[in-house]
């Protein structure tokens, strides 16, 4: 199955991004395709490379980036939501790209399922 994923919350206040990460990983391991992960609302904070959690905690920003590199997953950050929250090319983590909201509609149309992670 071809999945699109929408992540609506940032990496630490809510579990949504962790859950999305584990879902994407599991889906790929089962042989499904994840066409795109779109980050919206505070979800854009998942792409902030200045994020520096304590060393004994998971670093979701890095984990997403590694997943993108390993499995060629398209990680897209909404530009309007990102600019509001100070996410720009300068502090964009590896594996992410910034693009328009149309990319969310587009993956909704193209994928078999859009799975939403948020509150």
């Amino acid at each position: 199955m071809k999945f699109g994923i929408l992540v609506n919350e940032g990496p630490f206040t809510h579990q949504a991004s962790d859950s999305a990460y584990h879902f994407v990983k599991a889906a790929i391991e089962k042989g499904h395709q994840v066409m795109r992960v779109f980050f919206y609302y505070d979800g854009v904070n998942n792409a902030n490379k200045l994020s520096a959690p304590q060393s004994d905690d998971r670093n979701l920003v890095k984990l997403w980036g590694e997943l993108a590199t390993e499995h060629n997953v398209d990680l897209v950050v909404c530009i309007a939501a990102a600019l509001r929250r100070g996410i720009v090319e300068d502090n964009l983590a590896d594996g992410f790209r910034i693009s328009g909201l149309g990319q969310l509609t587009e993956v909704g149309i193209a994928a078999d399922r859009l799975v939403v992670f948020g509150d």
Partner: protein, 141 residues
């Protein structure tokens, strides 16, 4: 920056639903759902824009945000209404938009259809559940 990727969506029309659940200014969800709805119009997809719970306040007439120093975006919902009217009038366009208010949420807050900045369909929650189940993409905020 990684390379731009595009998917071929030509000729595909899906059913999108946007569920607005929150009051307009306490969180950013209302504004950012609105932005998502407006962008999606360019893709000529079916869309139900739904207001439930405190989300019904998003389209209430007479909003004054001066005291909280926030942008009053309630007038922008008029663009959704225009998109809906365009879709209704253009017979060549396979696009249906609906603006729906959940009856129970509206009544619990002492509101009526006249209180809203756009014309709405008022639908009880059991019927709304059926419409929701028919959707292919549900995005909420």
């Amino acid at each position: 920056m990684s390379e731009e990727i595009e998917f071929d969506t030509a000729g595909i029309t899906k059913k999108f639903m946007y569920v607005n659940r929150k009051a307009p200014y306490g969180t950013i969800y209302a504004l950012e759902v609105l932005e998502a709805v407006l962008i999606s119009a360019a893709f000529e997809q079916h869309a139900c824009i739904v207001f439930v719970d405190d989300g019904v306040y998003q389209i209430k007439k007479g909003q004054d945000t001066e005291a909280v120093n926030m942008k009053n975006f309630s007038k922008t919902y008029g663009i959704i209404e225009m998109e809906k009217e365009d879709a209704d009038e253009d017979e060549d366009m396979d696009m249906e938009w609906r603006i729906i208010v959940e009856k129970e949420s509206m009544e619990a807050r002492g509101l009526s259809p006249d209180d809203f900045v756009v014309a709405v369909e008022v639908i009880p929650s059991d019927e709304l559940a059926v419409i929701m189940a028919e959707q292919e993409i549900v995005i909420s905020g």
